[in-house]
Assembly symmetry: C2
DNA sequence: ATTTATCTTGACAAATTATGTCAAAATTAT
DNA sequence: ATAATTTTGACATAATTTGTCAAGATAAAT
Protein backbone atom coordinates (compact mmCIF):
# COMPACT_ATOMS: atom_id res chain seq x y z
CA UNK A 1 0.00 0.00 0.00
CA UNK A 2 1.61 3.22 -1.21
CA UNK A 3 1.93 6.30 0.93
CA UNK A 4 1.19 9.76 -0.39
CA UNK A 5 4.89 10.50 -0.26
CA UNK A 6 5.73 7.49 -2.35
CA UNK A 7 3.19 8.45 -4.96
CA UNK A 8 4.65 11.92 -5.17
CA UNK A 9 8.22 10.74 -5.35
CA UNK A 10 7.53 8.20 -8.07
CA UNK A 11 5.76 10.72 -10.19
CA UNK A 12 8.37 13.40 -9.64
CA UNK A 13 11.13 11.04 -10.69
CA UNK A 14 9.18 9.89 -13.73
CA UNK A 15 8.98 13.51 -14.75
CA UNK A 16 12.71 13.88 -14.21
CA UNK A 17 12.30 16.66 -11.66
CA UNK A 18 14.78 17.18 -8.87
CA UNK A 19 13.63 17.60 -5.31
CA UNK A 20 14.75 21.18 -5.29
CA UNK A 21 13.04 21.91 -8.57
CA UNK A 22 9.67 20.72 -7.36
CA UNK A 23 10.29 22.33 -4.01
CA UNK A 24 10.98 25.64 -5.75
CA UNK A 25 7.70 25.43 -7.61
CA UNK A 26 5.96 24.72 -4.33
CA UNK A 27 7.86 27.56 -2.72
CA UNK A 28 9.18 25.44 0.12
CA UNK A 29 12.60 24.23 1.12
CA UNK A 30 13.77 21.00 -0.50
CA UNK A 31 14.31 19.62 2.98
CA UNK A 32 10.61 19.69 3.64
CA UNK A 33 9.73 18.05 0.39
CA UNK A 34 12.24 15.34 1.14
CA UNK A 35 10.55 14.76 4.47
CA UNK A 36 7.11 14.75 2.91
CA UNK A 37 8.13 12.13 0.39
CA UNK A 38 9.54 10.02 3.17
CA UNK A 39 6.45 10.41 5.34
CA UNK A 40 8.45 12.24 7.94
CA UNK A 41 6.24 15.31 7.73
CA UNK A 42 2.66 15.84 6.71
CA UNK A 43 2.06 18.23 3.89
CA UNK A 44 -0.73 20.77 3.90
CA UNK A 45 -3.80 20.42 1.74
CA UNK A 46 -2.64 23.42 -0.27
CA UNK A 47 0.64 21.75 -1.05
CA UNK A 48 -1.12 18.57 -2.10
CA UNK A 49 -3.24 20.57 -4.45
CA UNK A 50 -0.26 22.35 -5.97
CA UNK A 51 1.67 19.10 -6.27
CA UNK A 52 -1.19 17.49 -8.15
CA UNK A 53 -1.23 20.42 -10.55
CA UNK A 54 2.48 20.42 -11.16
CA UNK A 55 2.87 16.67 -11.51
CA UNK A 56 -0.35 16.20 -13.40
CA UNK A 57 -1.80 13.85 -10.82
CA UNK A 58 -5.54 13.44 -10.33
CA UNK A 59 -6.18 16.04 -7.70
CA UNK A 60 -9.29 14.50 -6.23
CA UNK A 61 -7.62 11.12 -5.87
CA UNK A 62 -4.52 12.60 -4.31
CA UNK A 63 -6.55 14.54 -1.78
CA UNK A 64 -8.52 11.44 -0.86
CA UNK A 65 -5.25 9.61 -0.45
CA UNK A 66 -3.83 12.37 1.69
CA UNK A 67 -6.83 12.85 3.97
CA UNK A 68 -7.41 9.16 4.47
CA UNK A 69 -3.78 8.72 5.41
CA UNK A 70 -4.02 11.53 7.94
CA UNK A 71 -7.09 10.01 9.50
CA UNK A 72 -5.69 6.50 9.50
CA UNK A 73 -2.61 7.60 11.43
CA UNK A 74 -4.76 9.61 13.80
CA UNK A 75 -6.61 6.53 14.99
CA UNK A 76 -4.46 3.59 14.01
CA UNK A 77 -3.42 2.89 17.57
CA UNK A 78 -6.98 2.90 18.87
CA UNK A 79 -8.37 -0.53 19.42
CA UNK A 80 -11.75 0.71 18.22
CA UNK A 81 -10.39 2.36 15.11
CA UNK A 82 -12.82 0.69 12.74
CA UNK A 83 -15.85 1.48 14.83
CA UNK A 84 -14.70 5.07 14.97
CA UNK A 85 -14.73 5.18 11.18
CA UNK A 86 -18.16 3.59 11.04
CA UNK A 87 -19.63 6.13 13.40
CA UNK A 88 -17.81 8.93 11.60
CA UNK A 89 -19.54 7.85 8.42
CA UNK A 90 -22.94 8.24 10.04
CA UNK A 91 -22.00 11.61 11.37
CA UNK A 92 -20.77 12.79 8.00
CA UNK A 93 -24.10 11.76 6.49
CA UNK A 94 -25.86 13.67 9.19
CA UNK A 95 -23.75 16.76 8.76
CA UNK A 96 -24.16 16.72 5.02
CA UNK A 97 -27.92 16.52 5.35
CA UNK A 98 -27.93 19.56 7.66
CA UNK A 99 -25.37 21.64 5.91
CA UNK A 100 -27.00 24.98 6.53
CA UNK A 101 -27.46 24.74 10.26
CA UNK A 102 -26.46 27.65 12.40
CA UNK A 103 -24.04 26.10 14.81
CA UNK A 104 -20.33 26.87 14.81
CA UNK A 105 -17.63 24.26 15.33
CA UNK B 1 -27.85 12.69 16.48
CA UNK B 2 -26.29 13.70 19.78
CA UNK B 3 -23.00 15.47 20.06
CA UNK B 4 -20.40 14.50 22.62
CA UNK B 5 -21.17 17.72 24.45
CA UNK B 6 -24.85 16.92 24.66
CA UNK B 7 -24.14 13.48 26.02
CA UNK B 8 -21.93 14.95 28.70
CA UNK B 9 -24.36 17.67 29.64
CA UNK B 10 -27.31 15.31 29.91
CA UNK B 11 -25.41 12.97 32.12
CA UNK B 12 -24.00 15.72 34.26
CA UNK B 13 -27.44 17.15 34.86
CA UNK B 14 -28.88 13.73 35.60
CA UNK B 15 -26.24 13.41 38.29
CA UNK B 16 -27.16 16.83 39.63
CA UNK B 17 -23.67 18.22 39.16
CA UNK B 18 -23.04 21.88 38.44
CA UNK B 19 -20.78 22.93 35.64
CA UNK B 20 -18.25 24.28 38.06
CA UNK B 21 -18.37 21.13 40.15
CA UNK B 22 -17.57 18.88 37.24
CA UNK B 23 -15.07 21.43 35.97
CA UNK B 24 -13.34 21.39 39.34
CA UNK B 25 -13.02 17.63 39.24
CA UNK B 26 -11.57 17.91 35.77
CA UNK B 27 -9.29 20.67 36.95
CA UNK B 28 -10.36 23.10 34.27
CA UNK B 29 -12.26 26.36 34.26
CA UNK B 30 -16.05 26.09 34.11
CA UNK B 31 -15.97 28.31 31.06
CA UNK B 32 -14.18 25.63 29.11
CA UNK B 33 -16.52 22.92 30.18
CA UNK B 34 -19.42 25.10 29.16
CA UNK B 35 -17.89 25.49 25.74
CA UNK B 36 -17.20 21.79 25.45
CA UNK B 37 -20.79 20.94 26.23
CA UNK B 38 -21.93 23.42 23.62
CA UNK B 39 -19.48 22.10 21.00
CA UNK B 40 -17.67 25.40 20.95
CA UNK B 41 -14.40 23.80 21.91
CA UNK B 42 -13.00 20.35 21.44
CA UNK B 43 -11.97 18.53 24.55
CA UNK B 44 -8.83 16.49 24.79
CA UNK B 45 -8.83 12.72 24.93
CA UNK B 46 -7.62 12.91 28.50
CA UNK B 47 -10.57 15.01 29.50
CA UNK B 48 -12.96 12.63 27.79
CA UNK B 49 -11.47 9.80 29.73
CA UNK B 50 -11.77 11.62 33.05
CA UNK B 51 -15.32 12.69 32.25
CA UNK B 52 -16.33 9.11 31.55
CA UNK B 53 -14.87 8.07 34.89
CA UNK B 54 -16.54 10.81 36.86
CA UNK B 55 -19.94 10.53 35.21
CA UNK B 56 -19.85 6.76 34.98
CA UNK B 57 -20.18 6.75 31.23
CA UNK B 58 -18.88 3.88 29.11
CA UNK B 59 -15.41 5.09 28.36
CA UNK B 60 -14.88 3.14 25.19
CA UNK B 61 -18.15 4.36 23.74
CA UNK B 62 -17.49 7.95 24.69
CA UNK B 63 -14.07 7.88 23.09
CA UNK B 64 -15.50 6.41 19.90
CA UNK B 65 -18.10 9.15 19.93
CA UNK B 66 -15.47 11.81 20.48
CA UNK B 67 -13.00 10.61 17.86
CA UNK B 68 -15.63 10.03 15.22
CA UNK B 69 -16.98 13.50 15.79
CA UNK B 70 -13.53 14.98 15.39
CA UNK B 71 -12.99 13.12 12.15
CA UNK B 72 -16.43 13.92 10.81
CA UNK B 73 -15.88 17.63 11.26
CA UNK B 74 -12.44 17.35 9.74
CA UNK B 75 -13.81 16.15 6.43
CA UNK B 76 -17.47 17.10 6.43
CA UNK B 77 -16.98 19.82 3.87
CA UNK B 78 -15.10 17.59 1.48
CA UNK B 79 -17.18 16.37 -1.39
CA UNK B 80 -15.38 13.02 -1.21
CA UNK B 81 -15.80 12.62 2.52
CA UNK B 82 -17.23 9.15 2.34
CA UNK B 83 -14.58 7.87 -0.01
CA UNK B 84 -11.98 9.28 2.34
CA UNK B 85 -13.42 7.18 5.14
CA UNK B 86 -13.51 4.08 2.96
CA UNK B 87 -9.87 4.44 2.04
CA UNK B 88 -8.98 5.25 5.63
CA UNK B 89 -10.52 1.95 6.63
CA UNK B 90 -8.26 0.07 4.28
CA UNK B 91 -5.27 1.96 5.53
CA UNK B 92 -6.13 1.23 9.14
CA UNK B 93 -6.34 -2.46 8.31
CA UNK B 94 -3.00 -2.24 6.66
CA UNK B 95 -1.40 -0.39 9.54
CA UNK B 96 -2.81 -2.80 12.07
CA UNK B 97 -1.43 -5.75 10.18
CA UNK B 98 2.05 -4.22 10.15
CA UNK B 99 2.12 -2.85 13.63
CA UNK B 100 5.74 -3.58 14.33
CA UNK B 101 7.28 -2.02 11.29
CA UNK B 102 10.23 0.25 11.71
CA UNK B 103 9.00 3.43 10.10
CA UNK B 104 8.24 6.59 12.06
CA UNK B 105 5.21 8.76 11.39
C1' DA C 1 39.13 7.63 -6.01
C1' DT C 2 37.88 12.23 -5.92
C1' DT C 3 34.84 15.67 -7.01
C1' DT C 4 30.21 17.32 -7.69
C1' DA C 5 25.32 17.10 -7.32
C1' DT C 6 21.46 15.48 -4.85
C1' DC C 7 19.15 14.14 -0.91
C1' DT C 8 18.60 13.55 4.16
C1' DT C 9 18.84 14.80 8.85
C1' DG C 10 18.64 17.45 13.02
C1' DA C 11 18.81 21.79 15.54
C1' DC C 12 16.53 25.71 15.69
C1' DA C 13 12.97 29.80 14.50
C1' DA C 14 8.56 31.52 13.19
C1' DA C 15 3.82 30.93 12.67
C1' DT C 16 -0.34 28.77 13.72
C1' DT C 17 -3.53 26.47 16.48
C1' DA C 18 -5.06 24.59 20.94
C1' DT C 19 -5.90 25.23 25.57
C1' DG C 20 -6.63 27.90 29.51
C1' DT C 21 -7.82 32.17 32.61
C1' DC C 22 -10.54 35.82 33.85
C1' DA C 23 -14.27 39.09 34.16
C1' DA C 24 -18.40 40.84 32.51
C1' DA C 25 -22.90 39.77 30.32
C1' DA C 26 -26.75 36.75 29.94
C1' DT C 27 -29.72 33.41 31.64
C1' DT C 28 -32.14 30.71 35.04
C1' DA C 29 -33.80 29.67 39.66
C1' DT C 30 -35.26 31.36 44.24
C1' DA D 1 -35.30 41.59 42.56
C1' DT D 2 -31.57 38.85 44.11
C1' DA D 3 -28.59 35.23 43.85
C1' DA D 4 -26.66 31.40 41.52
C1' DT D 5 -25.28 29.47 37.35
C1' DT D 6 -23.92 29.52 32.77
C1' DT D 7 -22.20 31.79 28.61
C1' DT D 8 -19.33 34.76 26.02
C1' DG D 9 -15.35 37.20 24.42
C1' DA D 10 -10.81 39.22 25.06
C1' DC D 11 -6.65 37.87 26.12
C1' DA D 12 -2.43 34.79 27.82
C1' DT D 13 0.14 30.63 27.65
C1' DA D 14 1.37 26.30 25.83
C1' DA D 15 1.76 23.00 22.30
C1' DT D 16 2.10 21.77 17.65
C1' DT D 17 3.04 22.69 12.85
C1' DT D 18 5.55 24.50 9.38
C1' DG D 19 9.60 26.39 7.79
C1' DT D 20 14.87 27.63 7.36
C1' DC D 21 19.49 26.53 7.41
C1' DA D 22 23.73 24.05 7.49
C1' DA D 23 26.19 19.96 7.99
C1' DG D 24 26.32 14.98 6.98
C1' DA D 25 25.18 11.00 3.96
C1' DT D 26 24.44 9.01 -0.42
C1' DA D 27 24.70 8.58 -5.29
C1' DA D 28 26.45 9.99 -9.90
C1' DA D 29 29.96 11.65 -12.87
C1' DT D 30 34.68 12.31 -14.23
Amino acid sequence: MKTTGEIIRERREKKGLLLRQLAAQLDIDAAILSKIERSDRKDTKEQISKIADILGLNKKKLIIQYLSEKIAYEIADEESAKQVLKVAEKKVDYLKRNQNDTRKH
